[in-house]
Symmetry: C2
Subunit: 227 residues, 2 copies
DNA sequence: TCCTAACAGTGTATATTTGACACCCTCCCC
DNA sequence: GGGGAGGGTGTCAAATATACACTGTTAGGA
């Protein structure tokens, strides 16, 4: 395939990823350390990088998550968020970024992936610092989308482990929505939605009565009527 | 601002627009005649074109709507839909397209804008032909998004004229959802949502009892609980 | 072994929302 | 002034949402 004339190709394409996880009932996002004087000395940003000629934006997003975020993308759910094309969003040259919203269950991460390194680290979303480029904007956008989709789809199935107790699922909802829910009403609702399959196992190793484990009946993200 | 090295700039950027309107209670989309042998002889496509160096994708979308779709974008509501980056979506060269969902009230269009020309025309969505490039995919995506956002936001305010009767508003919902609603329940719901302001005017010139006119209290698209 | 902390699991009563359903009213036009 | 076209209105039953509190089971430590 030919390339278009050079003068029409003024921009480079990038993929940026807002990868969220829930750890200890709190929402975290994966950030990179960024140190690019003069504009962005000693700051942070979302994992991002350039799209290659033989890649779609989505392929680039998963590759970048692995290469730069050090997260194996095979466990990660990813969906397109939006494209950011402000002319000066990168002060060095014209960069148009396709941003992705990504989710991963903390429990599926390896201990290396769970830990912070010199390059990448997990950051509590509610304490996120100011980010480089327009990544503040991207992150807010991603967080907003996450919160709203959680309410009317089974998107949450992508951020909890395969097997979970109802209390764990409820805690995940609570982390994402930032409010507490009533245990009985939550269970009634889940029962009605009919998206969970009870397993024949229980959660052991906790100093309490073992709870029944469940999983989502379908791995797909389904649209549901509320909650 | 500098350009990035040439080898990183392999793609051109395009903006494609799916512009919808409601005419005679039916949903139409603005299409262009496309005749680009050998791949796309004698077919149709969404209005689209290349993004310029000094433009954001959204600026390009509105410019293209005017230049190619012959629709004055100042009356048009536009929001980003998604970015399509399949490597071979345009068989000639790598083109990454940022697609937009756009809405306009039929009544605000000039008679030139309402009419079809050699280049652009209005097409009943439910009878849309096969389109060039991946525009089928883009159109389905846009239609889907339109239908779903209509149900839980006041997005519909962007496709009805400023002033309307409740029956007209109901007809717009029905066109978009493809199903009929009960008049009394619809009015009860609208009343509860508390997003409409009744005017002191009535719709005249119809051969029937004049209906009270309303407008949306806020011109913004608000998230609402259902309908 | 017994106590207790920690969490699992369950039901009811009330308020709110949804959905089905039909008739008379007003105006314009002939 | 009669007819046609659309405007405007209320009730009941069913489904859903919300508020609310106690008993049961286990592991761990005294």
């Amino acid at each position: 395939m030919q390339r278009a004339p050079e003068h029409l190709r003024f921009a480079v394409l990038a993929a940026d990823v807002a990868l969220f996880t829930i750890r200890d009932k709190k929402l975290y996002v994966r950030l990179m350390r960024v140190n690019r004087p003069p504009h962005f000395p000693d700051t942070s940003g979302l994992p991002g990088g350039l799209i290659r000629e033989d890649e779609t934006a989505e392929m680039a997003a998963t590759r970048i998550l692995a290469e730069r975020g050090h997260i194996d993308a095979s466990k990660v759910y990813i969906e397109q968020l939006a494209t950011f094309s402000e002319v000066t969003r990168d002060p060095r040259s014209r960069v148009v970024a396709v941003a992705y919203l990504a989710l991963v269950p903390w429990e599926t991460l390896s201990s290396i992936e769970q830990s912070d390194s010199d390059e990448a680290f997990w950051q509590l979303v509610e304490r996120a610092p100011k980010l480089a480029y327009d990544h503040d904007h991207v992150l807010r956008n991603a967080h907003e989308r996450l919160r709203s989709r959680i309410s009317y789809s089974t998107l949450i199935c992508k951020i909890v482990p395969k097997e979970f107790t109802l209390s764990e699922l409820q805690a995940a909802y609570e982390s994402l929505r930032g409010e507490f829910l009533d245990k009985r009403n939550f269970r009634k609702k889940m029962d009605m939605l009919d998206v969970l399959t009870p397993l024949k196992k229980k959660r052991t190793g906790v100093r309490a009565r073992p709870a029944l484990l469940y999983r989502f009946t379908s791995p797909k993200v389904l649209i549901t009527p509320q909650l």
